[in-house]
């Protein structure tokens, strides 16, 4: 069990940041989609910039092994267009309505929000629905 501890700690940090930055706030999401505040864009852009720079550092330094001894490699997303755009549209549409994407959903459920738990329950059903319909969908 001890090997899972780092994931728990990083997960706690992630949930804490999502709530403290108000990225888990429906209000902030509406404000973002109406371009009325730089806050959410600042979070997204600086997160991506940090990610890009740190990935480049890992690559340049040639860090080959993770803490548990596994080789570090960055998995490639499967090629395609339709599933990414259409899936993104459906997800984004739901996100725009209720202002919660999967990360904030878990963080807000942790605060005891019954509504967030209902959203989470819905998203589990949606995920199951995708699994059941997968073969019939264009990808």
């Amino acid at each position: 069990m001890f090997r899972y501890l780092p994931y728990l700690l990083v997960g706690i940090l992630f949930g804490f940041v999502l709530v403290k930055s108000e990225a888990a706030s429906w209000y902030r999401i509406q404000e973002m989609f109406h371009f009325q505040n730089f806050h959410m864009f600042g979070i997204l852009f600086s997160a991506i910039a940090t990610g890009v720079v740190s990935i480049q550092i890992i690559k340049r330094l040639g860090r080959k092994k993770a803490l548990d001894g596994q080789a570090i490699d960055i998995p490639e997303k499967a090629p395609g267009t339709v599933s990414y755009v259409v899936g993104g549209l459906i997800f984004g549409f739901g996100w725009g309505l209720i202002g919660l994407c999967p990360g904030p959903m878990f963080a807000l459920a942790g605060t005891g929000s019954l509504g967030a738990m209902v959203v989470l329950a819905g998203s589990l059903h949606g995920t199951w629905l995708y699994g059941a319909l997968k073969q019939h969908l264009p990808h």
Binding site: E22, Q30, S83, G94, G122
Partner: protein, 185 residues
């Protein structure tokens, strides 16, 4: 300890979120992303009578990921309950005016509006239905804001750019054309 209570500015929160990508690689060569956990939870709870192939795999290999989202929930609890900020979300003036024109009250301490999240059959039906869209869409797209916008764009992957454009497009449609009319026709 004020910093644990007050909201964090974007230039603190953003880099911390971005650091999730190298941290997860460093800890165990993991790709940072949240929505896969929804799939794992389906795999765990799928009854043998309705076996869907998509959920038939050894989810025990992904326990690390479930531990991570349990942490996310705990982090939410710490930030939102233990170190709760009693002050309402400080929205821009433009956003405040917009909310009022939509018939919403200004934020009063909660991160989400009571108008949509307080316990009622109508609200919970709506929240559940939107959750279905989020869960379906995110799996169809193969990731959510974390897996595509953060991890995917950080590693310069084109499919993630498609997904992010779709996500933002869907959000714009909902936020501009539906949300304004949710409370008042």
């Amino acid at each position: 300890m004020d910093w644990l209570v007050h909201p964090w500015p974007w230039y603190v929160a953003g880099p911390l979120i971005g650091l999730m990508v190298p941290l997860m690689l460093f800890i165990g060569n993991r790709s940072f992303g949240i929505s896969n956990n929804l799939r794992h939870l389906c795999a765990i709870t799928q009854p043998p009578t309705v076996e869907v192939d998509f959920f038939r795999y050894n989810w025990k290999e992904h326990v690390w990921s479930l531990v991570f989202v349990i942490g996310t929930g705990l982090g939410g609890y710490l930030a939102g309950v233990v170190f709760a900020d009693p002050n309402p979300v400080q929205l821009s003036q433009a956003a405040q005016d917009m909310l009022l024109s939509w018939g919403f009250l200004l934020p009063s301490g909660s991160l989400v509006p009571d108008e949509l999240f307080h316990t009622s059959v109508r609200n919970f039906t709506f929240l559940f239905a939107c959750g279905v869209l989020v869960g379906f869409g995110t799996r169809y797209a193969g990731g959510c804001t974390s897996g595509h916008a953060i991890t995917g764009l950080s590693t310069l992957q084109l499919p993630s750019l498609y997904a992010v454009l779709g996500i933002f497009g869907g959000g714009l449609i909902a936020s501009w054309f539906l949300v304004p009319h949710m409370l008042i026709g």
